[in-house]
């Protein structure tokens, strides 16, 4: 047999083997095996990520500057916390108005429980926008849990293994988040464009949205908790002949520089199944 023919046959056999694995994985039969292989890999990944981050920090900042940077980051965290508090207070004020209009109806708002974890890598495929975090089902993380930073929402858990999990970022075109505008109270649906821009669509034409207005999760649909900051309005597109207006959003989180995230562990997303006729 000619060498090239035997090579094609060999390649065909390997492709069949890989296709078999692909079918098995689509059926969910390989999840335990994937988890088993990922266990040591996630350890190595965390170790490398931490060492690289430490080396980068050491190389980029002299020692005295390092302490100042630490102080600045503490102050930044404090500012972020205070901003969060202002948002929450404004939200409460707006809510009080709504609630008094609804005859003192009180809504229970449970405290969120957070689990901090480091980001151990990005999706290897440059066509997908997701992150890997260094915690998985071993520490109670499950599919659908929202993920935030101190600046705002970054996405939700979409794949879980024992030691690591994959987060679908809100900048992924497949993600959709129900949001509301803080001042105008208009609702909309946030989705990422294929070029990575974030747009809020399906906004009522009568709503008056202003530039720099804060966009928060609305909690509609039950996928995300209410009142998590998402971003600010960059510009608004409103055309009289269209049913809805759109807004371009500047995300509150810098998605290129996420090192630690918080997973909201006590939030159970609603599983809405499609009804069959």
């Amino acid at each position: 047999m000619k060498r090239s023919t035997s090579q094609v046959l060999f390649a065909g056999t390997l492709i069949l083997l890989a296709a078999g694995l692909l079918i098995l994985s689509q059926g969910g039969y390989l999840i335990p095996l994937q988890g088993l292989i990922l266990r040591p890999l996630s350890g190595i990944q965390s170790w490398i990520t931490l060492r690289v981050a430490a080396t980068r920090d050491m190389l980029t900042s002299p020692r005295d500057v390092a302490s100042l940077r630490g102080e600045i980051s503490q102050l930044e965290a404090e500012v972020a916390r205070l901003q969060q508090e202002i948002i929450s207070l404004r939200e409460h004020a707006a809510e009080v108005e709504i609630l008094s209009a609804l005859l003192d109806y009180a809504r229970a708002q449970p405290e969120s429980h957070y689990l901090a974890t480091i980001v151990i890598g990005k999706d290897i495929s440059p066509f997908l926008r997701s992150l890997w975090i260094g915690r998985g089902s071993d520490t109670g993380i499950s599919r659908g849990m929202p993920v935030v930073t101190d600046r705002g929402l970054i996405g939700r858990v979409i794949e879980v293994f024992p030691t690591q999990a994959r987060i679908q970022l809100i900048t992924d075109p497949d993600a959709a988040v129900n949001v509301k505008f803080q001042v105008s109270r208009a609702d909309g649906v946030l989705s990422a464009q294929l070029n990575g821009e974030l747009w809020v669509d399906l906004i009522d034409q009568n709503a008056t949205i202003s530039q720099d207005e804060l966009v928060l999760t609305s909690g509609l649909g039950g996928k995300y908790p209410i009142d998590i900051p998402v971003g600010q309005v960059l510009n608004i597109r409103r055309r009289d002949y269209e049913l809805f207006q759109q807004a371009v959003i500047q995300p509150s989180v810098d998605f290129d520089d996420i090192e630690i995230v918080l997973v909201i562990t006590n939030f159970r997303p609603l599983q809405i199944e499609q009804s069959t006729p």
Binding site: S4, Q7, V8, F10, A11, L14, I15, L17, A18, A19, G20, L21, L22, S25, Q26, L30, Q34, I37, L38, L41, I44, Q45, I48, T49, V52, I120, G121, K122, D123, I124, S125, P126, F127, L128, S130, W132, I158, E159, R166, Q168, P173, D174, Q193, L194, N195, D256
Partner: protein
Amino acid sequence: MVYLIGVPLLALLAVFQSAILSHLNFLDGRPDLVLLAVVGWSLTGRTEEAMIWGVIGGLFLDLLSGLPFGSSAIILVLVALMVSLSEGRFWEAHLFMPLSVTLVASLIFYGLGMVTVLLIGRELDMSYALTRIVLPSTFLNLILALPASQLAAGLRDRIFPPEVEI
């Protein structure tokens, strides 16, 4: 022996790609170390081993990616097969051989990657993907092509020293 070195090496390259190279973006592109390893080993003439490296490396990539498990393995076997058809061993000494093979291999790899993304029902902005991901990634792969092929040749000579007639 070659798999004793190859399997951990491919695992490490996949982890490096996810943990470190993802921060070194050129536009939205990044070099693909596993692809370079498979192409480099194919160019040494050990095609069947390179195909197996393709399967193993592809599975490691798929473990750390949202793409279906096994899809990158299929693509990398096809890449290794394509390199074998170029008679890489014969032209190995030629400077442009690794460059031209890496160029074609990268375009096939990202092209089939985009097809996979479309097959799983996701939308893709072709012009954005080409200009911001495929071309920058291919450029970075080309920069690393020569060192990768030299390292692969060095590894081959260590594992399989050339026989010398006295």
